[in-house]
């Protein structure tokens, strides 16, 4: 602290004289002296007394100096002497923050300046004064209060503090802040814990050397270790002064920015009165950091009695009391536990029951410690507790409420909590309740918020319109049923409905977890929003399926402040683990489908019922599918955010699959349901000769789940060829695209869009949805077969083409019997895959291309297949329609024809015929993909048996049930085991690996992976030397022979 005393004041002008221009200061000094002269006699005695005050604190050596001081100051001693002593006293002040004289000096200085100096008040002085004031209360206590009072009265009868305080305005104070003209403050390093000593040394040096030292003051702050502050005009002065002092290190002298100078000397407001019932935290000792409640305050002795939960090791205590040797185990702090007197007695610890004289309460006295109701009552120094930023947590508060104490006690202690309130805590319209004072329990609404006071409109009639209430006396008020959002604290962000209000604590039923959360009323606001708190860390969001470090996977069911709760993909029992961000490898976003117990295909969003296992009977939509495990979300399931993990084989799809329908053959059921909407489409399809998508539009719309909307696409044909844009809407066969380059939305044919979606997911998705909703009656593979079939059956094609329903009807009926063979396919019999002529890459597909005109409709279908999702669905719908009794009503479909015609321009029917047909292969994996991995001999797989590490093996043989005989070892010369489908994972090939194709029409073919593009692999097929683009999921690394 800079010189605080009048001595400084007196002296300062003189120093200033030396340092800068004399005029002003000189004047000031003269004035001062004049003033002093007036009552010189009194003045000198005053001085003396003041000195002695310092001496109380610091050292007796000052005595002489004082006398000299007096002489010097007023007797006109030599300048040198004068300088010397004052500076000595300066140091004392600085050091002694605890000094009692400040007030006197304040007054003194003030008298001088205000009365006489008026506008000339030196700026520094008042800056200092500001800081001094908070010290006043303490001084009173440290000195003999009465004596002090007497002295003050005697000396300063003419002025009073109150006056002073009132006179000082903010503006005045502002003007007193240090400016550039003033000496600077330097931060100097010194030996740790020798700060005071260093300051004293400097002082001594000043005394000895006098004016040689050109520093002004030295400050050692109690709370700042390792540094002292030196006030001087130049760094060199500081350096010079510190030279030769071993406690002070002059290597680093830092200038304190002018703005921070006041902060250096401001005293942290310690005046927070520790009232009864406030919450504090212990600063030191065994109970460091523990929450405690103040039960008694002794301001005189600066001590408080706090109530703590004891941390006492009874056994150790017993040993100690018995005089046995106590093994000191450091770093062991007994856990907090309520004292049980009986337990203590059992250990033969003497328990005395005594009455406290002060409070009249009975305490149990054990080894000098006082206990009551299990709590420890401890008398500690005020300094050893901190009352700032307590933020007691619920658990802590809960413990304190232990025996039979109801919330009432808490109310008083609320004041501590309120100290932590943010600004703008109350907002207009908030419902509040008064918790203190005469108006206690008055409810009302906030009308206006001022600095400290809140104007509320009371609920009760007969009261003034608004009442101003201190915000500390207010608490937010909620009623059960309010929907609130937590805005601070541990549960920040959660929303829910208030279930119960216990004083200032609310119990909220969280919207998402359907669990109770307890929060302070202060931490919540009313809100209609529904969230679960934070829902995202990094790239991962609540309810995402993620792959974890150890190759396990799971769904994020809760996002905590730094970690996720993940429901693992283990089916036998729900397993939740806490996972940190870095433990998550990636998000799994694959749209795959699996088969349920009845071999129906299950896709995401399908509603399934779990028919086995611990969660039997649960029902809900599938949220994620991975490795044959379904994550089902049951609204009524309360644990794990409603997620249930189940094997796909223990579930059944309920109703129609939303996304997918049922491709596996119980077509009749669905065809009846679905047929009507289908029929009209047929005419459209044929005339156009392109892949018909139409029905998709409507269904899509109905579903509200178009995966294409929003996708970034490029227009590959037509007027807007080459433009890029974002899909706004998909309407039947047309797509509305917002062009990137032009500010407009255009409508183009779906086919004209090249599928450069950012990822290949849409690819996979599209057919899934397409087939799903539109092709419920046909197994997934139908499209493939039928395509081929009609082609082979040349006769049939022309009939279809441009044909009307009746004929088609006939034409298609023959294929209905196709289903049984198809079922074989579903069974995953690889043999049939391989042998089926339809799938031989070479021959049959070539057929359609050979038969251009009539076949074009058909030939293009496969083309459509890849370019658009819808084809399979449509062609199959055709089949479905065929047997349908509704067919005769087809004329209803007529109106559609113009519709489809409208597509024609944009649909150069030839497109699918172009070399692009190679793309057929691109599409085929999609279908394969839907079926999950189809293992095939000679590929490398990772076999994972529960709990074991994954082992590489080579599939030797695929058994009828889908499981495989696998030879372990990368070259397949290890043990041969039988592994189930879900225990195996295909080894993903890398670039230039030899691969085997598992899906698509090329199934079984081998080749070389010559490149990878996203999820697509570029494959050079061995047999044909063709280069094909296939989904990586359909490629497996070929085992090296």
């Amino acid at each position: 602290m800079p010189r605080r005393d009048v001595e400084d004041d007196d002296l300062e002008p003189e120093e200033d004289d030396e340092d800068y221009g004399e005029d002003q200061e000189q004047v000031l000094e003269e004035e001062l002296e004049e003033e002093e002269e007036e009552d010189e006699g009194r003045g000198s005695s005053r001085r003396k007394r003041r000195r002695s005050d310092f001496i109380d604190d610091v050292a007796e050596e000052d005595d002489e100096e004082e006398e000299e001081d007096d002489e010097d100051d007023y007797g006109g001693g030599s300048r040198k002497r004068r300088n010397k002593r004052p500076s000595g006293s300066q140091f004392f002040d600085l050091e002694a923050e605890v000094d009692s004289d400040d007030e006197e000096e304040d007054d003194d200085g003030e008298d001088d300046f205000i009365v006489e100096g008026g506008g000339e008040v030196p700026e520094e002085d008042d800056g200092r004064r500001m800081h001094r004031r908070p010290l006043l209360p303490r001084e009173d206590e440290q000195e003999d209060v009465e004596a002090l009072e007497r002295r003050i009265q005697a000396r300063y009868a003419r002025s009073s503090h109150a006056e002073y305080d009132e006179e000082t305005t903010d503006v005045d104070q502002q003007a007193l802040l240090p400016s550039v003209r003033d000496p600077k403050l330097w931060m100097v390093k010194c030996a740790i814990n020798h700060e005071r000593e260093a300051a004293a040394c400097l002082m001594q040096k000043y005394i000895d050397k006098g004016s040689e030292l050109q520093i002004r003051s030295v400050v050692a702050l109690d709370h700042l270790k390792n540094y002292i502050y030196v006030e001087a005009d130049r760094e060199a002065h500081v350096r010079e002064a510190c030279k030769g002092l071993r406690n002070i290190y002059t290597q680093s002298i830092k200038l304190v920015p002018i703005r921070e100078m006041t902060d250096v000397l401001s005293v942290e407001s310690k005046t927070i009165d520790l009232a009864r019932d406030t919450w504090v935290r212990m600063k030191i000792g065994t109970y460091k950091g523990d929450l405690a409640k103040v039960v008694n305050v002794d301001n005189l002795r600066q001590r408080v009695t706090v109530k703590l939960i004891p941390r006492i090791d009874l056994q150790a205590l017993a040993n100690k009391l018995d005089g046995r040797e106590v093994v000191k185990k450091k770093a062991f702090v007994p856990p907090p536990r309520f004292m049980n007197v009986d337990e203590a007695r059992e250990l033969h610890i003497r328990v005395e029951r005594r009455r406290d004289q002060m409070s009249g309460d009975y305490f149990e006295n054990i080894g000098g410690m006082l206990f009551k109701d299990g709590f420890l009552y401890k008398n500690v120094s005020m300094k050893s507790v901190s009352s700032l930023n307590i933020n007691p947590t619920f658990d802590e508060l809960e413990k304190f409420r232990k025996p039979g104490e109801n919330g009432d006690g808490d109310m008083g202690s609320l004041s501590t909590l309120f100290a932590n309130r943010k600004k703008g805590h109350f907002m207009k319209g908030d419902a509040v309740i008064v918790i203190k004072g005469d108006l206690k329990n008055l409810k009302g609404w906030v009308e206006k918020v001022e600095e400290e006071n809140v104007h509320i409109r009371p609920e009760m009639k007969g009261l003034p319109k608004t009442l101003a209430v201190n915000e500390k006396e207010l608490c937010k008020y909620f009623e059960p049923g309010n929907h609130v959002k937590v805005v601070s604290g541990a549960q920040e962000g959660a929303t829910g409905m208030v279930v119960k209000v216990e004083q200032h604590v609310l119990i909220i039923l969280s919207d998402t977890t359907k669990e109770h959360i307890r929060v302070f009323a202060d931490d919540v606001v009313e809100s209609s929003e529904v969230t679960s708190g934070i829902t995202r860390i990094g790239d991962y969001e609540l309810h995402d399926l993620v792959l974890l470090d150890n190759n396990s996977f799971g769904v994020i069911i809760r996002v905590e402040s730094e970690a996720f709760q993940v429901l693992k993909g283990v089916t036998d029992r729900p397993e939740v683990s806490l996972v940190r961000l870095r433990e998550i490898k990636c998000k799994l976003d694959k749209k795959i489908s699996v088969q349920d117990r009845l071999k129906n295909t299950v896709c995401v969003k399908d509603v399934v019922r779990i028919v086995e296992g611990p969660c039997k009977g649960k029902l809900g939509p599938v949220e994620h599918i991975y490795r044959g495990v379904l994550f089902v979300n049951d609204r009524h399931h309360l644990e794990h955010a409603g997620f249930i993990c189940a094997k796909s084989h223990s579930c059944v799809v309920v109703g129609g699959s939303r996304a997918n329908g049922d491709r596996n053959g119980d077509s009749p059921r669905f065809s009846h349901l679905r047929t009507p909407p289908r029929i009209p489409q047929s005419p459209k399809r044929f005339p156009r000769g392109g892949p018909p998508i139409d029905s998709g539009g409507r269904h899509r719309g109905g579903r509200g789940h178009d995966n294409m909307a929003g996708a970034l696409v490029k227009i590959s044909q037509g007027h807007f060829k080459g433009y890029k844009g974002r899909v706004k809407e998909v309407k039947g066969q047309t797509v509305r695209i917002e062009l990137e380059s032009q500010m407009r939305v255009v409508t183009v044919d779906r086919k004209c869009i090249s599928d450069n979606f950012s990822s290949s997911t849409p690819y996979r998705e599209t057919p899934r949805y397409g087939m799903g909703s539109e092709t419920p009656m046909h197994p997934s593979r139908t499209p493939l077969h039928p395509y081929m079939t009609p082609m082979r059956d040349a006769g049939a094609t022309p009939i279809h083409d441009g044909m009307r329903t009746p004929m088609r009807d006939r034409a298609w009926n023959p294929y209905a019997p196709m289903s049984p063979p198809r079922d074989n396919w579903e069974d995953g019999n690889p043999a049939s895959w391989g042998t089926s002529p339809q799938y031989q890459p070479g021959s049959p597909p070539s057929r359609p291309y050979e038969a251009p005109t009539p076949g074009s409709g058909w030939a293009s279908t496969p083309g459509g297949n890849y370019s658009e999702a819808g084809t399979p669905r449509d062609s199959s719908s055709g089949y479905a329609n065929a047997p349908s009794p509704y067919l005769p009503s087809t004329p209803g479909g007529q109106p559609m024809t113009p519709n489809s015609a409208s597509y024609l321009p944009g649909t150069p029917g030839g497109q699918p015929m172009t070399p692009g047909t190679g793309g057929l292969d691109v599409m085929s994996p999609v279908i394969g993909d839907n079926e999950g991995p189809w293992f095939i001999p000679d590929i490398l797989v990772n076999v994972r048996r529960s709990g074991d590490e994954a082992i590489v093996g080579v599939v030797r043989e695929v058994l009828a049930d889908g499981s495989c005989r696998v030879a372990l070892g990368s070259s397949g010369n290890g043990e041969i085991i039988t592994a189930l489908t879900n225990e195996m994972e295909v080894v993903v090939p890398r670039k230039s690996d030899r691969i085997k194709i598992m899906g698509s029409t090329l199934r079984g073919a081998t080749g070389k992976l010559i490149g990878v593009d996203g999820t697509d692999g570029i494959v050079k097929v061995d047999d044909t030397f063709d280069v094909k683009i296939l989904d990586l999921a359909n490629l497996a690394k070929l085992a090296q022979p």
Binding site: P480, G481, H483, V499, L509, H636, G892, P898, S902
Partner: protein, 176 residues
């Protein structure tokens, strides 16, 4: 509370439904579309009781669909704060129990269950009074008071209490 109100909706009808049965088709589609849905303003549409008026259809370019503005009378169910309802308990857990009154799901927290009722776990979790005379378990019927509602796009969720006079179990499946 149930209300019988008139609502309006624009129905899109596929051209194949045109003809003699257009009106019937329209109505059946309306029923399919609307019944069972929930809106924050009106609550759940329970049933359509009649058609007030079908406006002129407008043919949509490009699709051939026709949009009809349809005014229909329907019964809606909307729970209100403070309303007393009778509901069937669907699930009981330690935090309270869920009950359903028609389409509305209501949660009664254990804080809102009379203090003398304690949770008993087991394969049939329930809340029972200390003397065992009253028991709330799955399929019990309770009378409760709604103290808060939360309206989502697709459902209305309520919080109820049975901690009040004349509320509680009205029919116990075990004794019935």
């Amino acid at each position: 509370m149930f209300f019988h109100i008139v609502l309006e909706r624009n129905m899109q009808l596929h051209p194949r439904h045109f003809g003699r049965n257009l009106r019937e088709n329209l109505v059946s589609k309306l029923m399919k579309d609307v019944e069972g849905t929930c809106s924050g303003r009106h609550g759940f549409v329970v049933a359509i009781t009649g058609i007030e008026n079908i406006g002129k259809g407008l043919i949509r370019d490009g699709t051939g669909f026709v949009t009809f503005p349809v005014k229909y009378q329907c019964v809606v169910f909307r729970p209100f704060k403070g309303e007393i309802l009778e509901a069937v308990v669907t699930m009981v857990n330690k935090m309270g129990f869920f009950a359903e009154a028609g389409p509305v799901q209501i949660f009664v927290s254990n804080h809102l269950i009379p203090d003398d009722m304690e949770f008993q776990s087991g394969d049939m979790p329930n809340y029972t009074t200390s003397d065992g005379s009253v028991k709330i378990q799955k399929d019990s019927e309770v009378r409760l008071k709604i103290i808060g509602t939360r309206v989502d796009a697709t459902e209305i969720f309520c919080i109820g209490t049975i901690k009040d006079d004349f509320l509680g179990v009205i029919n116990d499946p075990a004794t019935a």
